[in-house]
Symmetry: C2
Subunit: 237 residues, 2 copies
DNA sequence: TGCGCCGACCTGTCAGATAGGTCAAGGCTA
DNA sequence: TAGCCTTGACCTATCTGACAGGTCGGCGCA
């Protein structure tokens, strides 16, 4: 019997070094931007080779907990949703998650970010959100620009909610949106329908500017419902 | 001038191999459990050393996109929230995120999972959720058991929502809950208050069993409000 | 004082080597 | 013949040593 304890993942050397690094961050109260000791010093301290320490750094770097770069010391990284975005993307590709399920989660989260943004947005944020919505209107001919503006719009609303975890989650939907934008756009065959979608953003922006949380939430709900209905009508989801 | 393009991260060899691996998964339509080629074969194909391929595998393994283990080939991994849990934990430790902000996100998400669970739960899931809530009642003396039961309860509700992304997100709150359970429990100084919290779970379970989405949502809201109020009263958040 | 050069230090990548785990094919035993 | 066990090919985990190239602070020169 090779292993009496079932399913007990071995505590590898790399895992030990990962724990040492995270402990170092916690014990010293490091914040984003703070520099970490080098790979070699962690390797020396843990009594392992540099290759092991490298893989530990690589793991933390993949999760965007630290920021490594050639020549410099690694730094503690600010929160970043791209790693979660990769995971969601992966789940879609491996048939563990459907677009419709993602829209349900997004709707749930973004109804709240819209309401919070109406309460908490600064004047500058209200301007930013309105500007993005207005830019969508002027550049809706090409799909690429509108897509990036749409992603930026939802991210800006989430940032204005003043809750970094909401901002993190919303930004993590970016990758999967980019992967599936084309089919969503094709689901709205006429210019009028596309303009309806863009006008939805402007209504949201206006409600947030007015500080009307209820209206912002309702406008965001209408926006999502319109999108999902278009996808359903096109038989895509 | 070392780099004319600002902030353009170099496309390293490791990144190239990561892309090759994800492309392989997508191009072949691999699903969780499917085996991947070995590190060496990816290294050979990309014309890089095995160390580079190893770090690419390590990156994907850190994100829980693949599952590597000594002796076996790597496999495509099922969705798992532990990586996101690590990230949230890190954000709390580096003062990028407060407990209260996490509770706001959890409340937003779990009101929805409770409502969906009421619609979609199977009879077996209704039993599982009730069982966990009842077990909390009988074992509330020690903090450890109640904590794990609480985490299991919220995860079970999320699974019953039939949306794997909700389940993923809710399970990713486990680590930070374990880190901060003690202070939350201490915020409820009397047995009566602790019993109130546990009874909240039973009310939620009953509403989900009855298929009453509105009641389940309201019960979950009451549960979160009670918890946050206790933390606020204790001056913890 | 200010600018530029330089060296110490760091990461990125490579090659080769050993230990130990996994898994399935094929032989052996009942 | 069915089930168990050995065995070997293959794979990952880790180590060692080496070199190229990037970063950054400090020293010296103007």
């Amino acid at each position: 019997m090779p292993n009496t304890v079932e399913n007990e993942e071995p505590y590898t050397l790399v895992d030990q070094v990962i724990d040492k690094v995270t402990d170092h961050i916690r014990h010293n109260g490091l914040e984003p931007g703070a520099a970490l000791p080098s790979e070699s010093s962690f390797a020396l301290e843990a009594g392992v080779s540099r290759a092991v320490a490298r893989e530990a750094f690589r793991s933390l770097s993949a999760l965007r907990l630290i920021d490594v770069g050639n020549g410099r010391r690694a730094r503690v990284a600010p929160a970043d949703g791209s790693a979660i975005g990769r995971m969601i993307d992966h789940c879609v590709y491996t048939n563990q998650l459907s677009i419709q399920q993602i829209f349900d989660v997004r709707r749930t989260i973004e109804l709240r970010t819209a309401a919070l943004a109406a309460f908490r947005r600064t004047p500058a944020e209200a301007d930013e959100i309105s500007d993005i919505a207005n830019n969508m209107r002027t550049s809706y001919a090409g799909t690429g620009d509108v897509m990036e503006l749409d992603i930026a719009f939802h991210a800006a609303v989430a940032r204005a909610s003043r809750n970094p975890l909401f901002a993190l989650l919303v930004s993590s939907f970016g990758p999967v949106t980019r992967q599936n934008w084309a089919i969503g756009w094709a689901a709205r065959p006429t210019d009028a329908e596309r303009m309806d979608s863009i006008d939805g953003h402007i209504i949201i922006a206006e409600a947030i500017r007015q500080g009307d949380a209820k209206a912002a939430e309702r406008a965001m709900a209408d926006h999502f419902d319109l999108t999902v209905r278009a996808l359903l009508n096109a038989g895509i989801i």
